[in-house]
Symmetry: C2
Subunit: 311 residues, 2 copies
DNA sequence: TAAGCGTCATAGAAAATATCTATGAAAATT
DNA sequence: AATTTTCATAGATATTTTCTATGACGCTTA
């Protein structure tokens, strides 16, 4: 049984005439004769009664088959409608991930921007480590992610979006408050608070100031395993030490903010590149583009947008 | 869009793997690749996300299409079921006609017999003149008819079922009551009651006794235009005259029956042949056969069954 | 009642389509 | 890096659909 055959049955049932039905289907009359005969043989019942000169009769079976066929074509049209809707990349939920050190600062700005550009694309958000996000992305549990490390995987595409300079966070009463900017080497002998391993930002900070690795033994560096940048910021405010933050993390103003000061690094300031990444096979390019646009429009302060150069 | 393509979509959605899906469909893997690609292009959306080594992903569109496709196949199976049911010739209503001079005597016997043989075949019955029945049969408003004249029309098939001798009906006090049998020529000078023109039985009686045509002028013959055999029988009982009846019409016993007597013709008695007729194109031969069997089993008295010779 | 017409069926050729085998590309795995 | 898995592509082949031409059959008409 084929949809074409059913279409022909409907036409003949409607026209009660093979010739006219053929015309309506834009095929020749023998085409209908053959197709309907084939279907009748498959079903084992005759659907029409061909009686020489008189009217073409429809058997009760033919009547019922035609009726059912009409329902089938309703569903077929349903598939077409459904596909036409789904054709819109900006329709349907999108699963977006972001690393812990970006999500709390970017998402509040990103979401309204994205909602404006794609109101029919609800977001399913997840914060996690780069490693976990990458795995979920590959498994299809995420559609896109925002990360701060280059992607190696060949099945994943990415686009750098902006560069985020690092800054030093100090307690308000710290002697460095008098300085305009700091050299990374100056951090060596400070009591630095760092995120736990797994956070890429930790690695990036250590790359900027390798001496901190050594100072770990001396007790000057303190790794806070299950913590977040916000927690560390509060600890700095309370005078427990200093830390390095991505500049976007300096924006939130909690009540303890007057206990904190930020100082930039001297140029060229260390920084990280934030990228948007997605599966190479993800079939909604316009959804990716919408996220990119939304991030660029998010109005993050103190970042340098990366526009032209791709990859 | 074809049902085959939808079948493939369902298989891939189910197996989440082109190779296994192909196996399940008993086709090669490239067949699926090509078919699904074709459907994706027609619909303008990708249904699956092929990602090299990892899991095969289904897009939201693919999910919805597969769901709808499943519904379509339910309906397709519905058509098959429906056809399987309809395959039974003895299923579904049958429109049966019979002429006025047969219906009241045959149908009461026929219906229970037929119901026994084809309980799922309800009858739509109609009494009418041969001419009208024939027209309706050709138009499809009837499926079969029981008549007493040979069929000329090439689009109609018929089968003689039984031969029905004629008998003479006389009032109980008629002098002929003493006779064992009658010659048709003896009717010439009797006051005969006849059915109106249009009834084939009238013509058949006139054929048996052409002299009655002449006696019409002499007032001995009386044609009762809008009447029936039953009415005529009552008139005979009341003494208005005599008449000729098909022997099956002598069976009903109304309260006036003791006022009536029947006398056969001398052999060879005039008779008529009752046939079953249907459109050559009518597609339920077993329904026809069931009617034939039911009529032969109907246990009509005084008739001679015609079995072997067809046509 | 034969000729013409309308209608559907059949046959064989042509066209379109579906399927196959073989092979390639890409990413995951060893 | 080599191997394996998985899907895509290409070209050949098989199948199916469709077409043109023609036939059969019954109706209509002269």
């Amino acid at each position: 049984m084929t949809l074409t055959e059913l279409k022909y049955v409907l036409a003949v049932a409607r026209e009660k005439h093979f010739g006219r039905a053929a015309e309506a289907c834009f095929v020749s009359q023998p085409t209908l004769s053959v197709a309907i005969k084939k279907l009748e043989e498959e079903l084992g019942v005759s659907l029409f009664e061909r009686g020489g000169g008189g009217e073409l009769g429809i058997t009760p079976a033919g009547e019922r088959v035609a009726e059912q066929a009409a329902h089938i074509f309703e569903l077929v049209d349903g598939i077409k409608d459904l596909a036409a809707q789904a054709k819109d990349d900006l329709q349907g939920p999108l699963k977006l991930g972001a690393i812990y050190t970006i999500a709390p600062y970017l998402l509040p700005e990103l979401i309204p921007q994205l909602h404006e550009r794609a109101p029919k694309m609800p977001l399913l958000l997840e914060e996690n480590y780069t490693r976990v996000l990458t795995e979920k992305l590959k498994k299809g549990e995420l559609d896109a992610m925002i990360i701060a490390t280059p992607v190696e995987d060949p099945s994943i595409l990415s686009l750098p979006l902006y560069e985020e300079p690092f800054v030093v966070a100090i307690p308000a009463d710290h002697p460095w408050k008098k300085k305009k900017s700091l050299e990374s080497s100056e951090l060596e002998n400070e009591s630095m608070l760092l995120l736990g391993s797994g956070h890429c930002f930790r690695d990036q900070v250590l790359q900027v100031c390798p001496a901190l690795n050594r100072s770990a033994q001396g007790g000057l560096q303190k790794t806070l395993e299950s913590s977040s940048l916000e927690t560390i910021r509060h600890m700095v405010a309370s005078g427990m030490g200093t830390t390095v933050l991505p500049c976007t993390a300096t924006r939130l103003h909690s009540t303890s903010d007057n206990l904190l000061a930020y100082r930039p690094f001297t140029k060229p300031a260390p920084a990280r590149v934030v990228s948007l990444a997605w599966r190479k096979s993800f079939p909604r390019p316009r959804a990716i583009e919408a996220i990119r646009q939304a991030i660029l429009a998010a109005g993050l302060p103190c970042v340098e947008k990366i526009r032209p150069g791709k990859r």
